[in-house]
């Protein structure tokens, strides 16, 4: 039997462990179940709508068309020969800027001089501002206290306090498979002043030297002001992961959206508050868009097969508005020379809305992003790896939705 001494030791150890565990629990919050953000009209946003924008009673609802009203290319960052992987974020109506665009620019993808460039759509002049470099790897490395080898895909998000957050891929010792995700946040400043950024931390997502988690597609806003940031792992195996953040930008949890082995760059599509889809690039030879789904607000995910849409192992963008789901993707099995905007009411059957680009093989239009601001749908995508093209659509209600072209 146990001696009296052993019993005392057990009691002491138990008290120590229980005390530390209770203290640990007291320092934390228990996240409520995640609910995708839904408007009063039943719309949910795969990319953020301008939070203070007018309600837009019929955006995307009922019969109507998305009509192309403007198009162009974002200003080229000074000295940059290449541009790729744009991200868009809509700002509140009180801000003089309606949309911010971010992308990586430099001599080429993965070049040592690649930085994150930004341009702002000015509401008054209705023009994009000159591009400026806003994230430099040497500066970020200096703040974090360790080196970053290269910068890559940026993703932007507007938090519950109206601050813009940036999530940027930064590689360690190796290529993209050694990527990590840096979390930056807008520094406090006067409204309308040029945005400055402070690195907050490197997101800690993996035990293996924290490598091989990357970000590419936009976040899905939640009702509590937080969001789910879709990321993916890509060392040898590829699989998607959802990171949940609160309205302040604090990481709450991470959940695998499947075990791969070839699905990456998930784009989230909320069907309702609890039922979401993830549409993913497929790096296998199947040439399709892969789908995973959750019925419980992202706690568990199931593979749902492929969409009946061609895709050449290329990133997609999604957005839900007014009960209509939108998808921008490359509708080919090989090459990224075409890019298309499609719509769907259930996320499974898709109808072509606009051919954004339809060029000869060898051209590249890829890595799309979408945002909804001031009642307009904004789309950006990489154009020949040289510039970032953008399109602006307005919802015209009452007209039948038919295929159109820019």
């Amino acid at each position: 039997m146990f001696s009296l001494r052993a019993v005392w030791r057990a009691l002491l150890a138990g008290a120590l462990v229980a005390g530390l565990a209770a203290w640990d629990c007291a320092q934390r919050v228990l996240p409520a179940p995640a609910q995708a953000s839904l408007s009063a009209h039943g719309s949910a946003f795969g990319a953020p709508e301008s939070p203070d924008a007018p309600p837009g009673p019929s955006l995307g609802q009922g019969p109507g068309v998305w009509k192309l009203i403007e198009k162009g290319s974002l200003p080229i960052a000074q000295g940059a020969l290449a541009a790729h992987a744009s991200a868009l974020v809509a700002l509140p109506a009180k801000d003089p800027r309606s949309v911010l665009a971010f992308w990586f620019a430099g001599d080429r993808e993965s070049a040592p001089n690649v930085q994150i460039a930004m341009s702002e759509m000015d509401r008054a002049s209705d023009r994009w501002s000159p591009a400026r470099m806003v994230v430099d790897r040497w500066e970020v490395a200096d703040t974090l206290g360790f080196g970053l080898r290269r910068l890559g895909n940026p993703v932007a998000w507007l938090d519950g306090q109206g601050r813009v957050h940036l999530f940027v891929v930064a590689t360690g010792a190796g290529g993209w498979a050694a990527g990590r995700i840096v979390h930056l946040r807008q520094r406090p400043g006067a409204p309308g002043a040029p945005l400055q950024w402070e690195p907050l931390r490197m997101l800690q997502l993996s035990w293996l030297w924290n490598i091989s988690y990357l970000v590419r597609t936009g976040p899905m806003p939640l009702q509590d002001g937080g969001m789910v940031l879709p990321v993916y792992f890509e060392l040898a195996r590829k699989f998607p992961v959802g990171l949940r953040f609160d309205a302040d930008g604090q990481l709450l949890n991470m959940v695998r959206m499947g075990t791969g082995p070839q699905a990456l760059q998930p784009a989230l599509l909320p069907l309702d508050a609890q039922q979401w889809r993830a549409l993913m690039r497929d790096s296998s030879p199947a040439g399709r868009i892969r789908v995973a789904g959750t019925q419980d607000g992202g706690r568990s995910w199931q593979a749902l097969g492929d969409l009946p849409l061609d895709n050449p192992n290329s990133s997609v963008a999604t957005l839900s508005v007014g009960g209509q789901h939108l998808l921008v993707y490359n509708p080919t099995t090989q090459g990224r020379h075409k890019i298309r905007l499609s719509g769907s009411s259930d996320g499974l059957q898709w109808q072509t809305l606009h051919e954004l680009e339809d060029a000869a093989p060898g051209h590249e239009y890829s890595y799309p992003a979408m945002a909804l601001a001031d009642g307009s749908l904004w789309i950006s995508y990489t154009d020949q790896r040289k510039t970032i093209a953008w399109r602006r659509f307005a919802w015209v209600p009452g007209m039948p939705q038919t295929k159109g072209s820019p």
Partner: protein, 231 residues
């Protein structure tokens, strides 16, 4: 399950991560790499015959140089580049390195004690701990590549991981008392790493990162091979 326990149960498993403060972490990164690099340099010196005869305890130039180099901030510092590749060592690796250096330079009597303890027959807890960390590392590696049906690493951010690891860590003391700590210094370092992790959250806020990093895990394989190889 009794519903009254549901919130506590959920908190243990699903509470949001509690992450370390970034400012302090910069210093901890330098200090950790300084200790680990100095310990590795010392171990290397002890294994090279020409350096072994160099009276390291009186002239520890190489370990000292490595430590100082790791403390240099910015691109000229070792921690900057080691951080690029390997981020930051676990607390257990750092404490292990600190003990190794202290044994060599500050408290040689500890070293004698450790040598005596190594020969003692009652080192069962160190062996159990070694086996446990090896298995844990394999689970974490498989989990990294999503080869397990559930995520192990994610649990390291939840309070349950700290609780379970603490329960394991205090076991030698409960069963064997102070004598168990004296003869099982690895188990004692494991407990100290957790006690340091609980308030500071170093190095990442994940309890599993506090007790095991891939570099330490590889070293433990070598240690296990040395200890258990067939003679």
């Amino acid at each position: 399950m009794n519903l009254a326990f549901a919130p506590l149960w959920s908190t243990l498993w699903e509470a949001a991560p509690w992450l370390p403060a970034m400012d302090a972490l910069r210093l901890v990164r330098h200090a950790s790499w300084a200790l680990v690099c100095a310990a590795m340099a010392l171990a290397l010196c002890r294994r090279l015959p020409r350096l072994r005869a160099y009276h390291l305890h009186r002239r520890p130039w190489l370990p000292l140089a490595m430590a100082l180099w790791a403390c240099v901030p910015g691109v000229w510092g070792l921690a900057y580049w080691l951080g690029l590749a390997f981020q930051i060592p676990s607390l257990l690796a750092t404490l292990w390195a600190a003990t190794y250096l202290a044994n060599a330079f500050l408290f040689p009597q500890w070293h004698a004690g450790a040598e005596a303890a190594r020969a003692a027959p009652r080192r069962i807890w160190d062996r159990i701990g070694l086996a446990m960390l090896l298995v844990l590392g394999w689970f974490l590696l498989l989990d990294t590549f999503a080869l397990l049906p559930w995520s192990v690493y994610r649990l390291g951010f939840a309070p349950v991981a700290g609780l379970v690891l603490l329960l394991v860590a205090v076991l030698p003391g409960v069963v064997g008392g102070g004598a168990a700590w004296r003869s099982n210094r690895g188990a004692l370092l494991f407990l100290l790493a957790l006690l340091l992790f609980m308030p500071t959250r170093w190095p990442t806020g994940n309890a599993l990162d506090a007790v095991l990093d891939p570099g330490l895990w590889l070293y433990l394989h070598w240690l296990a091979w040395r200890r258990w190889r067939p003679t």
